[in-house]
Subunit: 148 residues, 2 copies
Amino acid sequence: MHVSPNVETRPFRKLCADHGLAATHQRQVLYEVMQTMPGHPSPEEVYARVKKRIPAISLATVYKNIHLFVERGVLKEVSMHHGSLRVELNSHLHHHMVCSHCKAITDIEEKDLGVLPTLQRLPGGFQVERYAIDVIGICAACQKAKRG
Amino acid sequence: MHVSPNVETRPFRKLCADHGLAATHQRQVLYEVMQTMPGHPSPEEVYARVKKRIPAISLATVYKNIHLFVERGVLKEVSMHHGSLRVELNSHLHHHMVCSHCKAITDIEEKDLGVLPTLQRLPGGFQVERYAIDVIGICAACQKAKRG
DNA sequence: TTGACGAACAATAATAATTATCGTTTACTA
DNA sequence: TAGTAAACGATAATTATTATTGTTCGTCAA
Ligand SMILES: [Mn+2]
Ligand SMILES: [Mn+2]
Ligand SMILES: [Zn+2]
Ligand SMILES: [Zn+2]
């Protein structure tokens, strides 16, 4: 009797191939661990879980691969993380365009967004204060830079 | 001839009174400096500006007062800053409710939001990838805690 | 299957961001 | 104007993230 090898591994290998990534053991475990984490974990939390299966893994490896997965669209970043807190005084109702490449933040009027947020009572009795809409994409400067 | 004192100071003192804050010199300068910063500065950037007018100010004071101003609604936080990067695998189109008190993040379906962003070409030739909508407010647990 | 080679890894140092501590000063109130 | 709590400055500590470097591993062609 013969069993084809890598049965459970195949989908992950394909995912890596599709994204131009080497299929390493660390990446596979990171990916599998993320599948079991339905919330919005931090790199440290992911590291703690991965470490259970690969005790020798380095935190730096987790960070690098999380960034890589986000870059390639395997993982998604919750809200936009700018490395540090950002504040503004501008009390005029507006939202933001955030460049996923250079992280530049630009104001945008609500009316220019084509959205009409209806303040309402949301699931779980969540009491709404305001909406913060981030339009994520590529700014004009980065578009130009990518071409030539 | 007599000139009433604190002429320029009055609006700031009122702002503090309205928010239950002591009207300190440091807070006044921080507030005035923010009025001249139209972008989305980090605490370090604010500190650099304030330091020009109060060379002896401590970075910790800037941090503390920025947090205080955000808490009282004088300043607004751009995007939601969770202290660390947060990621998720969930590729299903959805958004988030974020508690401004405990910072808990909960998923919410786009259809439950009552907002319909229309993907379009935005000002400045910004190329849209996706919308990330954070509904900011108070979660049920924190509402309960605040009452009794 | 094997060997060369570049990519990825672990260990760890370094840096950046934020918070805590504590002695001193200041603003508010009576 | 004095008492008191709050705020401040200095700085240590903590937390988050990135850089460096020598070693190991995955890929691909023979
Ligand atoms: Mn803005
Ligand atoms: Mn989510
Ligand atoms: Zn950009
Ligand atoms: Zn809460």
